[in-house]
Amino acid sequence: MTEQVAAKKGPAAARDGPGLNVLVGTVKNVIREALTDPVTYLANWGRLYSLWPVHLETACCSIEFGAVSGPRFDCERYGILEAFGSLRQCDLVVVHGTVTRKMAPRLRWIYDQMPEPKYCIAMGACSITGGVYFDSYNVLPGVDQVVPVDVYVPGCPPRPEELIDAFLLLQDKIRKQSIR
């Protein structure tokens, strides 16, 4: 019975002309305007404190990352905790140093398996420009040829404080981003 009523109402509403559509569109805009700020705040707040990096260690900078994860520097208090389970749970890839040309397709493969939204931090001189291996036949001159990079952390290797600073910069960036 209700289905028949709805079927009768549907085309009737469309025949009423543009007036009703304009009203509906305006209400939609008002609701969207009212909801965008709090929803964006909530979504960004949720992403902000649950940055889970991929467990991917390509070079010696991973030692510093181990120090950052450890109890002395303890990046878990900012919500950054290495996810060992699956790439589907991760939303951050920290490129630890040198990426060879053979490793580059694998890095892109890992990046493609992660769900949106995803972020990337290039850690160390090697992953930014190639570092001391800049003229090697086998080392990528900058990891941003393969994946889009959000934050660059210079140093060889960077101190743990610098990496924590990069995490805070990335959280600032997420806090200001708009959602669609």
Binding site: T100, R101, K102, P105, F134, D135, Y137, N138, P141, G142, Q145
Partner: protein, 169 residues
Amino acid sequence: MSSPPAKIELPNEEKAILDSVASKLGDKVKVLFAKPNRIKISTRTDNLVDVAKFARDELHFDQCANVTGTDFPKDKQIEVTYHFGSIDDAGLRRVILAVACRVPSTAPEVPSLIDVYPSANLHEREQAEMLGVIFKGHPNLTRLLLPEDWTDIPPMLKAYRLPGRLESE
């Protein structure tokens, strides 16, 4: 003010190796240098297998420690050097015998020593892809270290140029 370096006396094992090489091989090889712990001789490619068998059977070098290569673009030659070492012979453990042979870089073909020294297998594959040297008789001369999609010339040749950002220099 520096005084000239004192003449170093060769140890007995190296002297014995030099004597044996000079008496048995004769014209087949040429001694490039002889220092304590290291002797380098050069030979032609058609004598290489004989020299390796002599080093294994008579001189008691029981393993091929390394295979290296150098590109000489002015001479248009590639030098392939086999480094032989010993584990069983206590007196020879510190000695390395390097056997070098030069081939033209237009047709770099060297006989494989895999029948004499099986440990040369991976080293020859590495030199094959880094320098483009073809080791005749090697059973599995395929891609080892370079990326699977490598299409450039072998990277250890002097003619190799870096692609990408450094190309404009």
